[in-house]
Symmetry: C2
Subunit: 355 residues, 2 copies
DNA sequence: GAGCTGCATTGGAACGTTCCAAGACGAAGG
DNA sequence: CCTTCGTCTTGGAACGTTCCAATGCAGCTC
């Protein structure tokens, strides 16, 4: 017995285990396990001895071993398509807060916006046996998402899904786009263009929302959509294309904040002042929009809430055994800042006259 | 034998294991293990049968079990103090690329800039037995960092260290600050103020670099430092304070980009045009600075390289058994954009006259 | 045809936990 | 004095891998 102790000591290089604690406290490994997990049926005196021994040895539970036997890691894997997009930072805040309060940990992995890298990230999380997966803004094909979902609960964030095997949390892009248009119309704008987001997540719905709102306001004839992307360059290129083809509109609704900043700069280049000559509305209310120097009117997505909801959906599948798909759509909110104001009298008249 | 098979099948709910694959392929678990890891000493015919069986069952290796026996997870834990800071996004790119090429995975956890949450994040990674830890911009006390470092190799990013047990990678903040000043001086500025970064990482060195450079240019008398922070508000408040106390300088070096954007806005508020009236230089060259609408002259940190270097330092300890501390300091680089230009003749004259 | 060699394959132990059925022990009850 | 009970404690099995020593077997040599 003391022989085996000697061997343990001699060979020890790594972390102390529950057996080391047991030996030092003079109890069995089982009791150590019980005590460390706070079981009420451990005699007070032994509990103290065990905690003391663990403390002295610098014992730290091995989550790997625990996960193996429990068949649960209590970890939620988060695949972030793009760390550079500030939009996701706050979503992650919501995920972490909600996960923590349910005794789960969130582990993040990123995909650098490339389908292949995203799959590597997901495969890694699956091999680590995370209890559930949150995919934030994935660009990879639905078939791969479904294949991941066949082995673990999956929630999609910022990408819609109708599948019963994959939950999703999105904001109501269509409604948000309508809010943007409604706001501009209420300021007196009628000549409102849209720089769209191409294949970006939610871009299609934002475009539809814009078109619907224009129609509802009787402005279908004034609606113009120019192609763009969710990038600064995309927004700037959209403005260039817009101004090349027609008279300057009095307002532009751009598909997201980053593109809106690009649009702001392009308008400036073209000699148009914002908001005096042209009003600009973005989408997402990222930290960028809130900068004093940019001060962009935009549509806010409840990002923390989106993250928290994603975790809740996961836990419902994990703990309550739900197996029907849930697709939550959260309402956005207009945030009025400095890039929108009523059009100048002349501009309005011109547009009215044209109709 | 077929009895136990039936039991396995009936009870199967979770993931298929190596045993399921072995059974289906008609070989032992050991051979499956060998084949899946690409050992050359498995007969071709069996290898194919095994791969086919694994494929059909949708087998996915259990990294938890593997880690337990190998006593290695091949995972590098990354604790990010703040996801909202774009500075770290690119550092993570470097970390991921370098880790991937060395067959490691990077797993990220965040601390929300609160020491307590940072410790939770680190503790989680330690319990998961990540092979090494990269702490990016941690705010927690050195004692805790040392305690983590006693059980696993730790590299600090964007926080200097002199300890032998903890490696670090930083940029040469002092040299970067000098570059900023040198640039302004070479444009003809002499009245150059500095809005500092308070307790932010590197802020102290940037301040020293500024003061040294001013002294070296014979401008010690013109040096002014006003307190700020690494935030937009910090930069704006710095400008407010600066202009309240004295005549407007012709140039300002602000401790980081975010604060510089705040400064830009504050200067605008005070009726000073940038760069016509005042030149502004930031630090970090984050994505923010590159926005066309902001176009900030700034000092670039080689962020990808910093991340990659952090991984390399970790691997040296892990694989080559290095145990002396290494503290790498990488050179920054000036990026000239639109917020700096020579001072107007009058302004220079005024300052010169004053001396 | 016995012994050797080398290759392909195998079973068992180990990793550090949790869980479970069962053990030890003293007190209470008959 | 023997049971029974309850409380606290224990050893062994299991989780899914990897690693290692050992086995089987074919072909070769003498």
């Amino acid at each position: 017995m003391s022989g085996s102790t000697a061997v343990r000591d001699r060979l020890r290089q790594g972390h102390p285990t529950i057996l080391d604690v047991a030996e030092r406290a003079g109890v069995s490994k089982s009791l150590v396990s019980l005590a460390l997990r706070g079981s009420p049926r451990v005699r007070e005196e032994k509990r103290e001895a065990i905690l003391r021994a663990a403390e002295q040895l610098g014992y730290r539970p091995n989550a790997v071993a625990r996960s193996l036997v429990r068949k649960r890691t209590n970890v939620i894997g988060v695949m972030l398509s793009d760390l550079h997009n500030l939009y996701f930072a706050e979503v992650v805040d919501g995920i972490e807060a909600e996960a923590l309060s349910a005794q789960y940990r969130a582990l993040i992995n990123t995909g650098s916006r490339m389908a292949e890298r995203e799959w590597v990230a997901i495969e890694t999380l699956l091999q680590l046996r995370t209890d559930g997966l949150i995919l934030a803004g994935p660009v990879l094909p639905t078939s791969l998402i479904l294949s991941a979902a066949s082995s673990v609960p999956v929630v999609l964030v910022a990408r819609a899904s109708r599948r019963p095997s994959v939950d999703s949390v999105t904001n109501d892009d269509r409604a948000g786009a309508r809010m943007a248009v409604d706001h501009l119309v209420s300021l007196g704008h009628r000549d409102i263009a849209h720089v769209d987001g191409g294949t970006g997540a939610g871009a299609g719905s934002r475009r539809s929302g814009y078109l619907e709102a224009m129609r509802d306001h009787g402005l279908a004839g004034a609606a113009v959509v120019v192609p763009g992307t969710f990038t600064e360059e995309g927004g700037a290129a959209g403005i260039d294309r817009l101004l090349a083809s027609r008279a300057r509109p009095t307002a532009v609704f751009v598909a997201n904040d980053l593109a809106a900043v690009g649009a702001l700069h392009a308008l400036e280049r073209h000699g148009a002042r914002v908001p005096e000559d042209v009003s600009v509305v973005g989408y997402d209310n990222t930290a960028l929009a809130a900068l004093g120097h940019i001060d962009l009117t935009t549509v806010d997505q409840p990002r923390r809430e989106i993250g928290a909801m994603a975790v809740r959906l996961l836990l419902q599948r994990l703990d309550d055994g739900r197996d029907r798909g849930r697709h939550v759509v959260l309402p956005p909110r207009l945030v009025v800042r400095g890039t929108t104001k009523p059009p100048r009298a002349g501009a309005v008249a011109a547009t009215s006259a044209r109709r």
